[in-house]
Subunit: 340 residues, 3 copies
């Protein structure tokens, strides 16, 4: 079997930067790798090669799934934190991103970066940082979640839904805000809007007033839906979005007011998010759907974003989606960074 | 050569949970792996597979020996700490152990957990936590030392003694408390009581008044000794336990009064442990033995638990036992988690 | 092809401990490994073996390059920090270096140690520590930079210069102090003096009054130059050292007054280092040279140690030198620790 070399060297900052056909290649390979986990022909594609995981923010699933993805491809993932990088900042001597990126390109086959809200002065600064690394790096940059996008989560979501529903064109999904003592990033839900709309789903987006997402992402989602002749509805009603959908995704996210004076105001966001306790995905609301699948990128805040009954119910595919993170990342790393 | 698959998927929380014949299989394989370290037929049994090491408490030897065990079997060990896990606690939102264990089971071939006194509210809470992980996990859970047991240390101890004394049935051992600015866990010494008694040794247990160990472990040790028709004596005399024994194990441990008000009172324990400075294993006391071997799980507090003369003497097998940690862990991982 | 086994088991604390012919072997193999990075015959020499990286001080490049070196040789590097080692100190119970070194020798194929100014009470204490490990260890100790020397940086520097200039005998180099908000270690620049003089270069050493280096290293450098019939000049003039040289190395370093009362006075050093702002390597000064190469061990303090124009100019080989760290370390590890 031969595999395309057309993706070699490609950065993955958001799936929207890639052609739909390129995403199809990843999803097809990820499925193959899931079915033939330890004996797939590309399982040596990173043999003795090194992948940098640069965590400006810590992580559970992302670190585990990237480190294991590198391992299962025969390679090794290095765990880097900012404190060990001595980078230049506004107030301290240190290395420029240009120097760091050029040298890392000499050492490794790829560089994953994770940077979230509390490490940046304003929304969009994480995205800018990734694009700055991509400018100087001669190896692929892959987002391991940043303020704006989370491409590997988006791929894992769609892989999970395809695994249960097959072709997604014309299927309906609800993405709904969930309450709780949290102020979660926009990255996962925004990537889901882009991916679901690319793959031909019609979308209901539901949230309480004041929880608008990035207008640019909303605009792009509309375009994607239009190209597939699908609907994109936004509602502030807690129930109506559930009607007749095939997939429900409930998740907390912070409001656009989260940043003030060049920092994140987490506590105010949490206080605000605790007010809307009717915004929980429960069995009663799920009865309005077309026997919908339930998805969530985990970790779940059970009892707030969703009830235990739904999260652990027969239609929940949360563990499949979590597992898919591994497979889609293996596919991305093999085809963008591997030797085969 | 073929190896049994009867141990596949088995948790190892204490050796007492396993049949004696199963422990024999581990010790036999560990010996083979020591003799043929880099070319043993099972050395690819973890190839490209990942093992989680979840350290609620940091560690020296345990982390080194598990990480290297995975490496020498062709696999990879991931280092996890609680701060990176975002687990649910009494006061913060986070992931349940059920969710964490199920997803980790999708990613890796095994999960090691270490949790000691200062991370738990009372003795036994660490044991409960491991058994909760075991309930939800579909991959083997292995204790890397917890409040109650330390199965891999117990296996390494017996492997070391067997290497020098051969068959242990009817041999005599002393386990004696040692003083010093320390308040050490019960896990290693309790596992030793269980293992030495399973392997047919008669046991002298010596400690100053007030340093009783877990009554349930003492009870089980008695039963094990009875089944092998061996004696189990407990004394508060600093010398009499040495008489005529074949193996001496000296080690500090904390008192049953260590926990109060749901926390560990380390400083009071250290203060108390400093009072008994006659409780040191020295050449004079060793003269009472049957030219006994000296063992200790390391790190040693030289000059307190034992003199330099004994610890570095001709009958000390401390380095062999430390090395054995690697070999028994390779054997456990290969047979419970490996593909062969 | 066969490779010498004469270096097996050798410690590398400074290149000055090794014969020139032994260094030649390393540089030749490093060049081979650079040209044939993923398919060199020694690329399996650390297969399934483990290398300890013990970082008393954190690091960027050193950790990346050693960890990747182990990976590319088929092995695994373990990241150790003092907080995880529970070693004995003047005030706390813990393990002796003897015990730690002996057990680590049972587990791994080599031990790298990094210890810099702020972790030691006086200059020379880091060197003493490495030599104490070497005394008890039966596996090779390699310096990953300590207060006095940085052998792998010295090897990478010379490899980089050879790559552009060929034979170095009779070539001229300037090593010049650079200003900035820094108080950098002597290790890299001292190793460079030793290596450049071993390889037959004549040396200009330039720094402001008060920035003398270790007199013992200066003495040794003089001897090395004498043996090769080359000159060694020291000047306090900011410009004259540049005249007619083939290689310029500018770099900040701390003064001999950095230590007082058994600790490092970093802030006073930085204050002092900021005074000499004419001490920057710039295009004007570089015009005095024989179209010299520019080198620096990175990370660079751009705008202080050197201008952007020089650091990113056509004659700068900083990225090549940084990459060479990987190749020389692979060569050292393969020949001192490997199985082939």
């Amino acid at each position: 079997m031969t595999y395309t070399k057309s993706l070699q060297g490609k950065h993955l900052i958001t799936t929207q930067d890639w052609e739909k056909e390129e995403l199809d290649i990843i999803l097809k390979l990820a499925k193959e790798m899931k079915e033939n986990r330890f004996h797939h022909p590309l399982n040596k594609s990173l043999e003795n090669k090194s992948f940098f995981m640069f965590f400006y923010n810590p992580s559970v699933r992302t670190r585990q799934s990237f480190e294991i993805a590198a391992t299962e491809l025969g390679g090794h993932a290095l765990f880097l934190e900012p404190k060990s990088m001595r980078l230049k900042t506004a107030t301290t001597a240190g290395e420029t991103i240009e120097d760091a990126a050029i040298v890392m390109s000499r050492y490794a086959c790829g560089l994953g970066i994770r940077i979230l809200e509390d490490k940046i002065p304003h929304y969009g600064a994480g995205e800018d940082l990734l694009r700055e690394y991509a400018q100087y790096s001669t190896i692929p940059i892959v987002s391991m979640a940043h303020d704006k996008y989370h491409p590997c989560q988006g791929l894992a979501d769609i892989m999970g839904i395809q695994g249960h529903l097959g072709e997604l064109k014309g299927k309906k999904t609800l993405l709904t805000w969930g309450h709780g003592a949290l102020a979660r990033s926009w990255c996962s839900v925004q990537e889901y809007l882009l991916m679901a709309s690319r793959y031909g789903m019609s979308i209901n987006l539901a949230y309480p007033e004041g929880y608008d997402l990035d207008p640019q992402v909303i605009e792009q989602t509309k375009k994607n839906c239009d190209q597939n002749s699908q609907e994109f509805n936004i509602t502030n009603d807690v129930k109506e979005g559930y009607e007749d959908v095939d997939v429900v995704y409930s998740r907390n996210w912070m409001s656009p007011q989260a940043y003030k004076d060049n920092k994140l105001h987490n506590e105010q966001e949490i206080e605000k998010a605790l007010q809307f306790n009717e915004w929980i995905c429960d069995t009663e609301k799920m009865r309005l759907t077309n026997d919908a699948l339930y998805i969530h990128p985990m970790p779940i805040d059970r009892g707030n974003e969703v009830t235990d009954e739904v999260a652990s119910g027969a239609r929940s595919i949360i563990y499949d989606v979590a597992e898919n993170r591994l497979h889609v990342q293996k596919a991305v790393m093999a085809l963008t960074m591997g030797e085969y």
